[in-house]
């Protein structure tokens, strides 16, 4: 049996019927990692001891004939910026090279309680800043579809591990596209949940008003199971919210939710309920600069849902072209504040200089990589005296306009379809020396983070060169179930 190709539900059934044990499964995956990861470099750390002990626990649950959760015994991977107690968490940075996490992130705690088997920690752009995983301080990850190309980023290790069959699913984080873009580049499914749907406790902070943890998986169903396991209110993250997904009506009284509760949010039963859907296609996402293969593949995907009976309507999101500069101003401003914690004193790399300023300058200067420094510098500049109004405040006002664009669109449509990225996976080295061209890789994904919406990347075809192309389906806040339901028609 090809254990590495099974879905979460198939594994669950196999374990319950005792066709294989969780330990066998874990060992099979560790073996695959041992063989394949030499070429792909998706993992920074293999947690084989942890995986084996968790698998044994799952087997014990099964042997007692207990009802086991869906994720129990299922081998998975965790991006190396999400804390696992007692395991190194490096964020792919020299400054945290030896850092051992003192506690579990809430998302990790939840999947541990479900009996998940953690195979290892996956590579990323340093502190999740990048779109190719080339900014890892240790090594770049390769795209399993073409080893000369990047897997996307920043959750490139998670996407590559799942695509190569080195994990059933993985946790990633998405601040401006870091789950969706690598999922698209590697041909897997990636969900960026609504801001607040998943606790950020234990996710190493990049930009706190944009960061969300989410799953990467081979099937939409697997992504949905994983999402349901990690979501929910957490008292350790005051921005997290509890949702009543059964009734599909967000239970919060906040304005954020009220504004969006005008249309019903049923889970579309694939195919039969697609008929009643209205899909918006924003004209601003099909402009000069988009690769013709990508455009053709996305247009075909749109045609497919139209043939199933959905109504397609062209919409306008007029401020789209300003999303990227607004995003980079806001994200880097938050970076400059969040990364002030790496001071060479509390934890991490420390250069013992003569005075305190020297410790700061040298620890940060030597410990942080070039892209991280560039973003700290940009954010510091944007927040500094004389520039705050011109840059930071202006960007936050543009954010309001972007939100209005989506509010108005969602009065008329159930979901919005766009490409995930203007191109398929690019060559390793192609964009790394030009930061601006790397930033442009995020052009279709950043709006969603600025507004806090959920979006899924689902593979819908291959380019002429055989590279995966992902469709982005954007939904209203807390309508993950709906966009995942729609995504299922592409499998």
């Amino acid at each position: 049996m090809e254990l590495e190709k099974l879905t979460i539900k198939e594994i669950h059934q196999g374990l319950m019927k005792k066709e294989f044990s969780a330990l066998e499964l874990a060992k099979r995956f560790l073996d695959i990692i041992g063989r394949k990861d030499k070429d792909i470099s998706a993992y920074l750390t293999i947690t084989d001891d942890l995986a084996v002990s968790q698998a044994k626990e799952a087997d014990e649950m099964i042997s007692k004939n207990q009802e086991i959760p869906l994720l129990a015994g299922v081998p998975m991977a965790v991006k190396d910026n999400i804390l696992i107690e007692g395991v190194k968490t490096t964020c792919a940075s020299k400054i945290l090279e030896q850092y051992i996490a003192p506690y579990d992130a809430t998302a990790v705690n939840k999947i541990k309680k479900e009996g998940a088997v953690i195979l290892g920690r996956t590579n990323l752009d340093e502190f999740a800043m990048g779109a190719s995983t080339e900014n890892s301080a240790f090594f770049p990850t390769k795209n399993p579809a073409d080893l000369s190309r990047v897997p996307g980023g920043s959750s490139g290790g998670s996407a590559a591990a799942v695509a190569a069959g080195m994990a059933v699913w993985a946790l990633g984080s998405d601040t401006g596209g870091s789950i969706r873009q690598p999922a698209s580049f590697c041909g897997v499914v990636g969900l960026k949940p609504t801001y607040g749907a998943v606790s950020r406790y234990g996710l190493v902070a990049f930009a706190s008003s944009l960061d969300q943890i989410g799953p990467i998986a081979r099937t939409v169903d697997d992504a949905e199971i994983a999402f349901n396991a990690i979501r929910g209110k957490d008292e350790r993250d005051m921005t997290s919210v509890e949702l009543n997904f059964k009734s599909q009506i967000p239970n919060s009284k906040s304005r954020f939710h009220r504004e969006y509760s005008t249309r019903s949010a049923q889970i579309p039963n694939p195919k039969s309920q697609i008929k009643n859907l209205v899909i918006g296609v924003p004209k601003e996402y099909f402009v000069k600069g988009i690769d013709s293969d990508v455009e053709k593949t996305i247009r075909n995907a749109i045609k497919k849902i139209e043939e199933l009976g959905a109504k397609i309507t062209e919409i306008t999101l007029p401020h789209t072209e300003y999303a990227l500069p607004a995003y980079y101003l806001i994200a880097t401003s938050e970076v400059s504040a969040n990364l002030a914690r790496y001071d060479g004193i509390k934890y991490g790399l420390s250069k013992q200089e003569k005075n305190l300023l020297g410790v700061y300058l040298e620890s940060r200067g030597k410990g942080l990589g070039v892209e991280v420094k560039r973003r700290i510098m940009l954010g510091t500049y944007a927040l500094s005296a004389g520039y705050y109004d011109t840059y930071y405040l202006k960007a936050q006002k543009v954010r309001t306009l972007l939100k209005k664009d989506f509010d108005e669109a969602f009065l008329k449509v159930d979901a919005i379809f766009t490409p995930v990225s203007p191109t398929a996976a690019f060559k390793i080295g192609e964009k790394i020396t030009d930061p601006l061209s790397m930033y442009l890789s995020d052009i279709f994904t950043v709006s969603v983070n600025l507004v806090g919406l959920p979006a899924v990347s689902v593979p819908v075809g291959l380019s002429a060169g055989g590279l995966p192309v992902g469709l982005q389906i954007i939904g209203k806040p807390f309508e993950e179930n709906k966009i995942l339901g729609i995504a299922k028609i592409y499998e």
Binding site: Y103, E235, P325, Y328, K346, S350, L357, R364, R374, M377
Partner: protein, 100 residues
């Protein structure tokens, strides 16, 4: 183009030790990126309120959203682990260099 002096000033504000080569590189990179940001000037934002957070929950009835202001105790092992992580310490005290 932003001035090299400005790059040095920002690096100092951000407590980043960067060498001459990096100064030059950042001068070029930051200038190009800031030029790109200039496009925001085209957007009319007169009378538009900023959105600092996607949910804006903090702005409405914030007291209702926050947990009670009560001390919570964590496991004593956690405190030990946090202290353990400090690179320079004496017993349970974290050592810091003199300011000057």
């Amino acid at each position: 183009m932003i001035k090299k002096e400005e790059v040095k000033h920002i690096a100092k504000l951000a407590r980043l030790g960067i060498d001459a080569k990096e100064q030059e590189k950042f001068q070029k990179d930051l200038s190009a990126i800031l030029d790109y940001f200039e496009s925001l000037k085209k957007v009319e934002t007169e009378g538009i309120e900023p959105t600092f957070h996607p949910t804006e929950r903090f702005l409405e009835k914030s007291a209702e959203k926050m947990r009670e202001d009560k001390e919570k105790t964590a496991a004593p092992e956690l405190a030990e682990k946090l202290i353990e992580a400090a690179p320079d310490k004496e017993k349970r005290h974290i050592k810091v260099r003199a300011v000057f």
